[in-house]
């Protein structure tokens, strides 16, 4: 997928000016956290589960080479072909060569963020293959020629009316109502069903790789990934090495965290462990299976201070709880992964130079870290990226000088207090008549949506605090 993160600010402003979409995102921003909270409290001690998973992750990443080899050995024994690829290009050409070896024409894909990352579809289409996304959300945006706006619900940005119009345009099925979500789903079901049955190759991702059994775990509600894994004669699993976990029980613990954080369910409809091609007297299943393990800078991240972002299980909770994500939606982030996790991952997987706007799209409110089931200190990682941005002089000079000035002021509390006191008095005097400002220089982003309240007098907090203490001391 092409990177367009350097337009974040412009795209974000544009997104804020579409009131209907803003309202729908606000609803999601209320509904999804409620679902997550209810599921987490129904579970019991969710924080203990998070802490357990963190320990398992630490252990796994400390012995990753061991578990990787254990996985590979078991997977090969099951009859899989395991391929290691270093970057996006290698993954794409590996998939293409497998498809070509089978003279495949039709590819059915389950949801896979990894292949979004590598831009696989584009290459396959160019090579003349038909590629069909089968996750309903992915299917909708594929038909619309758009990119995902959310890692769990890729088409959350589209209204029912928009999807209806899209289907009326794309599916030549004559007059029909298509007025409810059920009717829309029904139509997609009919169309995709035929495609599943006709596909030559199925491609899926993995939510976890179980080292002890050489299996990959797939977690879905629609069952589309399972159809991709069961119907076509060739199956390709595209995944990354940091999905590895030692035991099946660890994958179950991950699944407990994942579904509650993502949708608020106790378990998704389908949780499948696939081990390889069909067995000798199996009546169905793929005849050939491939597992492609992508690195794409992940081993660099593992060796850096940002390694904790590799614990991410792609639940989307940090998106749903982020005021910036809910405010502007996923598209301004300009790549595959939006929201807090995307603001950390995108600069690391692409370059900080191109994606430096993203770590700045943060209010440091800390809600993401509060809910992240993988206990990733997202605000800290974002701050460190901003620090790198400053040190590497990627941040625009005006910002850097501004920040330096601010830092200098902060180190001189007396001056800081005097300066803020003046500013306050000035603002209080200027805004005395209305009690608020409709417009302000340097702050049009704020005043575009709401008025800026004028200070009410009485001085700064520190000023009032000092005054009270003096009074208190006198009284005491």
């Amino acid at each position: 997928m092409k990177l367009a993160s350097d337009n974040f600010l412009q795209e974000a402003s544009a997104a804020l000016n579409a009131p209907e979409k803003v309202a729908r995102r606000n609803l999601l921003g209320q509904f999804l956290p409620l679902a997550r909270d209810s599921a987490a409290s129904k579970y019991g001690d969710f924080d203990a589960l998070r802490a357990h998973m963190k320990r398992v992750r630490r252990h796994t990443s400390e012995h990753l080479s061991h578990y990787l080899q254990q996985f590979e050995e078991a997977a090969v024994q099951h009859g899989n072909q395991v391929h290691f690829v270093a970057d996006a290009e290698q993954l794409n050409s590996k998939v293409l060569s497998i498809c070509q070896a089978h003279s495949a024409r039709r590819v059915a894909k389950g949801k896979s963020m990894v292949t979004e990352e590598t831009g696989l579809n584009e290459l396959l289409l160019k090579a003349g293959l038909e590629v069909l996304e089968t996750d309903l959300g992915e299917y909708i945006i594929q038909q619309a020629g758009e990119t995902p706006s959310h890692i769990v619900g890729p088409a959350f940005h589209k209204s029912l009316a928009e999807i209806r119009q899209l289907f009326l345009d794309k599916h030549k099925l004559g007059e029909r109502g298509l007025e409810t979500a059920s009717e829309v789903v029904e139509e997609a079901r009919g169309i995709l069903r035929e495609q599943f049955l006709a596909a030559d190759v199925g491609i899926i991702g993995a939510n976890a790789l179980v080292a002890e059994h050489g299996t990959s775990m797939l977690v879905t509600n629609e069952g589309n990934g399972d159809l991709c894994a069961n119907l076509p004669p060739v199956l390709i699993v595209c995944t990354t090495f940091e999905r590895l976990l030692p035991r099946a029980e660890d994958a179950m613990a991950l699944q407990r965290l994942l579904v509650r954080s993502a949708t608020g369910q106790p378990q998704t409809c389908y949780t499948s462990f696939y081990s390889g091609p069909r067995r000798e007297d199996d009546p169905d299943g793929p005849l050939e299976t491939h597992i492609i393990l992508l690195d794409n800078k992940r081993s660099d991240i593992l060796a850096s201070d940002y390694r904790e972002i590799l614990d991410c299980i792609r639940c989307g909770a940090c998106l749903n709880h982020c005021p910036i994500y809910i405010g502007v939606g996923g598209h301004p982030y300009g790549w595959v992964y939006p929201g807090p996790m995307g603001s950390v991952l995108t600069p690391l997987l692409t370059s900080l130079e191109q994606a430096h706007a993203l770590p700045n799209a943060c209010t440091s409110c800390g809600r993401c870290a509060e809910v992240c089931p993988a206990n990733i200190p997202l605000p800290d990682l974002l701050r460190d990226l901003r620090q790198d941005e400053s040190v590497q002089r990627i941040k625009p000079a005006r910002w850097r000088h501004g920040l330096r000035l601010h830092a200098w002021l902060l180190r001189h509390p007396a001056l800081y207090q005097r300066f803020t006191g003046w500013a306050m008095r000035l603002l209080g005097w200027l805004g005395k008549r209305r009690g608020a400002f409709r417009r302000m220089p340097f702050a049009s982003g704020w005043t575009g949506q709401r008025d800026f309240p004028a200070p009410e007098g009485g001085g700064t907090f520190m000023g009032q605090y000092a005054a009270r203490r003096r009074r208190g001391v006198r009284r005491g």
């Binding site: 999601l28 409290s41 129904k42 019991g44 001690d45 589960l49 357990h52 998973m53 320990r55 398992v56 252990h59 990753l64 080479s65 061991h66 990787l68 080899q69 290691f84 270093a86 290698q90 309903l136 959300g137 909708i140 619900g153 890729p154 088409a155 959350f156 029912l160 979500a181 059920s182 829309v184 995709l192 069903r193 509600n221 629609e222 069952g223 589309n224 399972d226 894994a229 069961n230 119907l231 030692p246 035991r247 029980e249 179950m252 106790p266 378990q267 409809c269 389908y270 081990s275 390889g276 091609p277 069909r278 067995r279 199996d282 009546p283 169905d284 299943g285 393990l293 690195d295 081993s299």
Partner: protein, 235 residues
């Protein structure tokens, strides 16, 4: 190329790791223990199982024995599809059921695109999540879980375990003798999607309905108790 990517990755990983003997790693792993299961909606494991199936948008029924199960299946098929036909895997347990008594006409094999209903005999039921577990193979082809409109599942009372960890203890026992199955599937509800405006719609790509029949001597009050435990759930 592929070989070098592998060697490169392993070398990079090893450079980060302190060398440890496999036994030591296994020891450290065992010391981590396992996670806690989710809180159960009811202290009785079978009632909790039924309650969670209902919470997953499934439907439940009790059958004293396999004869009663056949009757239940016959009624279900007639009510839903006005049919007696059913597809089921080559599971010896299914083959031995008194189909004629219930007027059911099973076809043993792989589900095809037009099949209305498929029946599986689950290996396990998991109370914690209201899931059933099947292995792909002759006894239960993978397609049978996915292609039909309705998926009917039989589970023996004694095969219901309380947690996901217990499920894996059983799965390991069951796979020790034979070879590892191609697919192990935990199914917890009819196929569903929330991709259109976050509204839940059943019957996305797979079955629209999911009907679980618990086989064995379960008191009929268990279903009511399951419903009640859902209605009075604290959240």
């Amino acid at each position: 190329m592929a070989e070098s990517a592998r060697a490169q990755l392993l070398a990079r990983l090893r450079a980060q790791e302190t060398e440890t003997e496999p036994e030591e790693i296994a020891h450290a792993l065992a010391a981590l223990g396992h996670a806690q299961a989710a809180r159960a909606p009811h202290p009785d494991v079978h009632t909790a199982f039924l309650a969670n199936i209902l919470a997953n948008q499934g439907t439940v029924e009790l059958a004293r024995d396999r004869g009663a199960a056949v009757q239940a299946i016959g009624r279900y098929l007639y009510q839903r599809f006005r049919t007696h036909k059913l597809v089921a895997g080559n599971d010896p347990r299914l083959a031995a059921m008194p189909w004629r008594d219930g007027g059911v006409l099973p076809r043993f094999g792989v589900a095809e695109a037009g099949d209305a209903a498929a029946l599986s005999y689950a290996k396990l039921g998991v109370a914690e999540t209201g899931a059933i577990v099947t292995f792909t193979g002759r006894a239960n082809p993978g397609r049978n879980n996915l292609l039909p409109e309705d998926h009917l599942v039989l589970v023996n009372r004694e095969d219901v375990v309380s947690t996901l960890e217990e499920a894996w203890v059983r799965i390991r026992q069951d796979t020790q003798a034979g070879s590892w199955p191609r697919g192990i599937q935990f199914i917890a509800g009819p196929s569903s999607t929330a991709d259109v405006e976050a509204q839940l719609v059943l019957g996305a790509h797979g079955p629209r309905r999911w009907h679980v029949i618990l086989v064995g001597d379960t008191p009929t009050s268990a279903v009511d108790a399951a419903r009640e435990s859902l209605a009075t759930a604290p959240f």
